[in-house]
Structure formats: C-alpha cells, structure tokens
C-alpha cells in the first residue's frame, strides 16, 4: 500500500494558544467576528485561518468512504477473519468500518465472506437489494471471487455472477490485514471516482433508487454526479 505522509500544516501560533493572554485575544476576535465588527483584511485573515473549503461532492464522498457500515453476514470460514477485523487487535474503527449492523436496511457494505452455494444466491441477492444506496460489495477470499477450491455443481463460480462486486480480496482465507487493505482500496475508489460503471457493465441502468419510480416515457435523466 502506498503510504502518504503529508507534512502537517504549521498550526502555530494561532491554532494553539500559547498562553492565557493569547487565548483571550482569540476569544475577543471571535466575538468581534460574530458581531460583524471584523472587516476588511482582518475578516479575510480570520476566515482563512479557520475554514477549509471544498465542494459538497467531495465532502460527501469523504463522509461516505469514512463511515461504511458492513452488514453482519458471515458465509463461511472467512467470516472468522471478518469478525477479527473489529477486534481490539485489528480495530477497523480506525477506518470507520467497524459498525456491523444486524439489518441490511442499515448497512451499506456487504462482505461476502466465504463460498456462495447456489442455494444461498437468492438470500444474498435479497440482502443486497435491501441495503441502502450507495452500497458496496467486497468479495472476500478465493471462493466468493472465483469459486476457489469448490469447483463443483453446488457453489457459484464467483459472486459477480449475480452481484456487482467492487473489490476482490485474494486469499484462502485472506488475513484480516488483507481485508482491511481491501476496505482501504474501496475507500480510495469511493473518494476518487464514484462512477464505478458497474450498472453499465451489468446492464442494470435504471435500477438506481432515484430512477425506480420515474416513468419510463419521460426518460430518466440521472443527476450529474450519480453512480449510474
């Protein structure tokens, strides 16, 4: 993984009050600002010190990628590694993906942790359909990615036969670190480019939540930054 160590912005002296007098000065300036007494260059300086500007789109992506809620959904032995992911040793709370929800209605990330038997397909598909949009799927391990060692009639040869999978994590089972790495990859994917193109790839245009209730005749025009 590429580790980026950005140099911390020099926060002193204004972000860290050096003493009680400095703190008092800052409080007075904040009061002036709220009253509207701060004008011209003083106001400009004040705002530049304290505000970070970005687009709403980027802020939304940042919020989405840093608060993914996985569904509590274990399929096989990979689920043991998935459970270890939230333990104190690995602690995915560092990346905001530790809240395993008991209901797919409250989750937006599905980790396919194990082999997918043909009898399980309708169940998984229903869980996936019930999840909130936008939603992401991680195929964890060899079995859910390609069938793995189960090259037989009973196991689906790759979960992307019936689901759009965003990230495939190799391993049998993948270590917990690998799973967390997959989640980090998914975060970068979400932050970088929301158009994953999977609806086009799976001929599923028009299944977005915002498009379902639209009449077909008027032609559903997607919002500019949609995930279609």
């Amino acid at each position: 993984m590429e580790v980026r160590r950005e140099k911390l912005r020099d926060l002193s002296p204004l972000d860290q009050p050096s003493g009680p007098e400095e703190l008092r000065v800052r409080q007075l300036r904040a009061r002036d600002m709220l009253r509207g007494d701060l004008e011209g260059e003083d106001l400009q300086e004040y705002v530049e010190e304290r505000l970070l500007t970005t687009t709403l789109d980027r802020a939304q992506k940042w919020a989405r990628s840093n608060a993914m809620w996985p569904a509590t959904f274990g399929l096989a032995c990979c689920a043991i590694e998935m459970m270890a992911m939230v333990s104190a040793r690995y602690d995915t709370a560092r990346f905001g993906a530790e809240v395993f929800r008991a209901s797919p209605r409250q989750a937006d990330m599905l980790i396919l942790s194990g082999r997918v038997s043909t009898k399980m397909v309708p169940v998984i598909r229903r869980v996936y359909d019930q999840m909130l949009e936008p939603k992401w799927v991680l195929a964890m391990g060899a079995c859910s990615s390609s069938g793995g060692m189960f090259a037989n009639y009973a196991v689906v040869q790759g979960a992307d036969k019936f689901l759009p999978v965003d990230v495939h994590i190799p391993g049998c089972p993948p270590r917990t670190e690998a799973l967390i790495y997959g989640i980090l990859k998914l975060q970068r994917q979400i932050q970088g480019n929301p158009d994953l193109g999977w609806r086009r790839r799976y001929q599923a245009e028009g299944t977005e939540e915002w498009a379902r209730d639209l009449p077909v005749a008027t032609g559903a025009t997607p919002p500019a930054d949609s995930d279609a």
């Binding site: 043909t118 009898k119 390609s146 069938g147 189960f150 090259a151 009973a154 040869q157």
Partner: protein, 176 residues
C-alpha cells in the same frame, strides 16, 4: 459386531423367515454386511429390529451409493446398531438402474425407524432413489428447482476453469 459365523446365522434366520431375502453376506475388515433383496428390505429390517436375540433397535445411518460400472448399479445402505450389545450390522439393498430416466425405487423404512426420514430424503436428493411411502419425499439440501442427481457417478462435477496468467491466452477476451 457379529462374527462371521454369527452373520451366517442371521442370514439363515432371515432366509427361513422370508425365503430369498438375503442374497449374500460379506464379512470384510471385521464389518458384517447382509446383501438383501430390495423387495424384502422392510421384512429384513423389522425382523432384525424385533426378533428376540437380534434387537438392532437403532438405525444409525441410511445412505446411498452408486457403483456405476457394476450391475446392479445403486445401493441403499442401512447401518444398524444394537445398543445393548454394541454390535453393528450393515444391510445393503442393491438396486438396478431402470434406465430411460426412470428412477430406482425401494420401500421407505420411516414406519420402522422414524429417524430415517431425513437420510432418505438426502439419498433421494443426491442419487434420485425413490423411497415408496415416504411421508415427505422432496429435496433436502439442493435447491427445490434443481434438475439432476448430483452425486451419481455420471453427473458432471461442474465448476469452470479459473483464468490465471498462465492460461489466460486460452480464453481470449475473457474480460469482456
């Protein structure tokens, strides 16, 4: 475990009860087995269960097998256990393949041993062996709408080749 002479005594007792019910016996690796005529399997099982001196009261397993090149092709195995003497006895009923997509049939032993219900469903599910008078004969492990009998030897095992870099060229434009 009955020893080899004991097994012959059981076979003789059964044949005197229902003539021709035991076709053969096998005593292999200290395991006793009776090869019985599938038409008499219920009589054999009830005799082994109720006859004083036998009392194999517990049916520990029912399973099927496919010996494809051999004839008759299918077999249903009943693993009996006498709890009092801790003796095990295997009863094999060999079933011929009726061919023409017809299924082999045998009497269900659920009346004698209620615990046989699920194992018989499993044998039906995987081998397509029909148990006559079974209370609820349908698939148990495979999906309800599944077609075929997957544990038969002539059933394709399924799966598909995984594409690695070394065999990528065999499936051109796989990524589309």
């Amino acid at each position: 475990m009955p020893d080899a002479p004991g097994l012959e005594l059981i076979a003789r007792g059964l044949n005197s009860m229902a003539k021709g019910s035991v076709i053969d016996t096998s005593f292999d690796r200290e395991q006793a087995a009776l090869i019985v005529d599938p038409e008499h399997v219920l009589e054999v099982l009830s005799w082994l269960r109720d006859e004083p001196g036998q009392e194999y009261r517990f049916l520990s397993a029912v399973h099927a097998a496919d010996y494809l090149p051999a004839e008759p092709r299918f077999a249903v195995h009943y693993e009996l256990l006498s709890m009092a003497r801790v003796e095990r006895l295997r009863v094999k009923a060999l079933l011929a393949d009726p061919g023409d997509s017809e299924l082999p049939e045998i009497d269900s032993c659920v009346e004698l041993f209620p615990g046989a219900e699920f194992p018989e469903r499993e044998a039906y599910d995987f081998f397509g062996i029909v148990f006559r008078n079974h209370p609820d004969l349908r698939r148990i492990l495979m999906p309800e709408d599944y077609v075929g009998w997957p544990q038969r030897r002539d059933f394709p095992i399924g799966g598909e080749p995984v594409i690695f870099t070394h065999n990528e060229h065999e499936v051109p434009r796989w990524y589309e």
